[in-house]
Amino acid sequence: MQFGIFSVGDVTPDPTTGRTPTEHERIKAMIAIAEKAEEVGLDVFATGEHHNPPFVPSSPTTMLGYLAAKTQKLILSTATTLITTNDPVKIAEDFAMLQHIADGWVDLMLGRGNTGPVYPWFGQDIRNGIPLSLENYDLLRRLWTEDVVDWQGKFRSPLQSFTATPRPLDGVAPFVWHGSIRSPEIAEQAAYYGDGFFHNNIFWPMSHTRQMIELYRNRFEHYGHGDADQAIVGLGGQAFIRKNSQDAVNEFRPYFDHAPVYGGGPSLEDFSRQTPLTVGSPQQVIERTLSFRDYAGDYQRQLFLMDHAGLPLKTVLEQLDLLGEEVVPVLRKEFAALRPAHVPAGPTHASLLAAQSAKNEANAQELTV
């Protein structure tokens, strides 16, 4: 199982000091956080994509390209890449390039974003959100798997004899996760292609997450990619950890109460009951995270949201120490012990390459027989 962090990249005032970091400070902080993730033994760093203040990460592959040079075995990913308003041709090129630079330590998560005006800013119509996701991804996939593509669709100019360069590393496209909170079509899409499905699992009650994952797993089996419990599931989650649980609550409360997403709404206690948010000791975070398996089944990737709501960099780095040293090692052991042998591990370039070689070998044998 893979563990990591995902960042929204928000520039938010620290409610305890009133200080707002500059964009430059926030961007450098995201890089420091990603490097720290590898240092403490995490597997994945994923950045969001936004095109409006107060968010900084508008250009994910620029940031991930830098990180590719600074990290060894950290999977560089996104949460999410906007499949609606980006040109799928440019996504194919940018991420294939990144894949080469990072020696394969790259995957990406596709989503539709959270900001309505991004559609018109990029010449699209929000009412086409899901149709854009379906058509753009169908093209993106072809650009990676077919060397020469003739294509015509509804949303983009046609392509004749087009070859996206560079070709994916070793002929293996980056692994794709499809992220959605509540649109059944996106679970259907992930299932149809046999790709991964990710639920952010942060803002909504667990019952919603369960409904989406059940649909994805059942349809994964329906489309013949394997049994439902072999589908590739990723989950988000958010935690704030201190050795002593009351210290965690006291320290996090002002950040929760003023957080752009839920500030002014339910209490920290109510929201912790209603959603997967866990504020407490390492043991509490371990137990809560293990309980995700009750509704998601054996899954492949767990990403935590750790750097948001104005938490200062120093605090976030301390959080990552606790996550990497006290939480994740236990989770790795416990999840591994629970996972049946026929359930696949989290996808990597190496595992995809091995699967492709095995398939080619099988085909070759079939030909010789």
Partner: protein
Amino acid sequence: MTRIAVLSAGLSNPSSTRLLADRLTDRVVGRLSTGSPDGDDTQGGVRVDVIEVRELAHPLADNLLTGFPSGALEAAIEAVRAADALIVVSPVFAASYSGLFKMFFDVLEPDLLRGKPVLLAATAGTARHSLVLEHALRPLFAYLGATTVPTAVFAASEDWGSAAAGGPSLNDRIDRAATELAALLAPVPAVSGTDHADRARPHRWGSADGFEHPVEFTDLLRSVQA
């Protein structure tokens, strides 16, 4: 069994809004009832769920901020979903329904009320506000796709103490509205070809339909081009 959800948005206790809601409910149940008591929460084949919006004020504010209903609010929304008809009563605030009343309908998922019979009612200190029913409540429920009962019932403070003053009394109006709602709930023969009509309806992107009736992905992709 027929299920009626009654939504009362009065703020005081006792509340004349709730009083009007109760009168309407009694009369509607009377019209629909088969006469035999058959359980704790049903009378004569009618089950009534009363929603006091005041008790949901905090969950409603939370829902607007977080995007999901919690606890008692979730139960109230389920009662509305399961109801065959609604009785809704709001006090008049600033020439319209109260903000709290509107919040409840703001958090319902689209189409939850589509086709549901709804009896509209309002209360105020004076009869000068009575057109709020026609100028504020009825357009709201038209937008939500509900089937509103022709007679909407307005009760000003004076109505509780006076018999008819040159028109039908409050009780007469309650009776007429209840009769109209009951008529809307009378069994109608099933329309043949409904299944076909459903299938002919274009796919609604992002709707909850996809959970219960998954659509083949190749059909979804093809419909993008349509």
